[in-house]
Amino acid sequence: MEYPDRQKSESRENAAIGRFRNGETAAFAELAELYKDRIHRFIACILGPDREAEDIAQEAFVQMYRSLGSFKGGSSFGTWAYAVTRNVCRRRLRARGRETPLFDREEEGPRREPPDPAPSQDAALESAETKALVRSAVDGLPPIHRAVIFLSCWEGLSYAEIAEALEIPVGTVRSRLHNAMLALERRLGPAPGREKRKEQ
């Protein structure tokens, strides 16, 4: 999936929101189409593989539909949509009797050893094997690291936008992103920069 041009995407979003506010409820389908894949990925970042992922995504969109009228537009629709989704995930975890520290803990999950041999990051990242290797490394990160990495590396949100989506301070976003990148680096093996420095 190619990331849509952010400016184009935002103008489409704003047009759809405008039509929705003027009573054209079907305009919401356009917003859902734009965000359904990203919301699913975000849910997977927070909850990991989950049988109820689709239901949670549906619930998140239902929440967005209900409260879009009160969306003030102070942030982008995407940032707001992630914040709504995060809250839905949080409620679902509470309902399952799992408390929310899952969102806050930074401890890493069980380390999944990458397939042998561990390539360095400058290997061809486009290959399916490498992608699987990196995905396995990312999956082994704590949910909060996965969420921060998704929102920054793929979605391209700023620290401030991530802070709003995850309801954490900007300073925390920075430190979590830093920790997440280091953790990922450890899981993927030494980065070329590090290797060379050790050699010197």
């Binding site: 995504a57 830093h178 990148m181 920069g193």
Partner: protein, 167 residues
């Protein structure tokens, strides 16, 4: 030795640096091989992570199912509001509110219709009221010279209320 600026490489990579600091950092990369390598390494990790977290397609017909669900929930939620009105607690509160409004309006109408209406004084007797003894003076206005009634006196008891419909 680790360069002091290495910590800032991440902010540079994610574009979280004011323009001045960014230019300074760019100049720093030219002279610091360690930071340059760190930048390249982080760029690789960022690209790898972005590639690994690329959104996979949502289940088929997701949007159609969502829109059907929303359409089904819409009338249900409207009916829910209507249904709530008939819950005992809501009904009681609604009836109390309606009574308050009704009496409020009546009172206002009375005041508006007779701006000189006298204040009422109600005297209750503990025995049966005798119309000849009590009602004559009780229901007459005492004029205070200017023709404006001073007070409207009503004498009543349970007997009068029940039999004469005074109140």
């Amino acid at each position: 030795m680790k360069c002091k600026k290495e910590e800032a490489v991440l902010d540079y990579l994610f574009g979280e640096m004011p323009a001045g600091e960014r230019a300074e950092m760019k100049a720093h990369f030219a002279g610091c091989a360690g930071c340059r390598r760190r930048l390249e390494a982080l760029k690789g990790i960022k690209a790898a992570a972005a590639s690994a977290l690329e959104p996979s397609p949502a289940p088929e017909n997701f949007t159609e199912r969502l829109m059907r669900r929303l359409a089904a929930e819409e009338p249900a939620s409207a009916a829910g509001v209507f249904h709530n009105l008939f819950r005992p607690a809501y009904a009681l509160a609604f009836a109390a509110l309606a009574l308050c409004v009704l009496f409020g309006v009546r009172e206002l109408k009375e005041k508006a219709a007779s701006p000189y209406a006298p204040p009422r004084a109600i005297y209750l007797t503990d025995g049966p009221a005798v119309p000849g003894k009590h009602l004559g003076p009780a229901l007459s206005f005492k004029e205070n010279g200017g023709g404006k009634p001073e007070a409207e006196k009503i004498i009543t008891d349970a007997c009068l209320t029940a039999n004469c419909g005074l109140l």
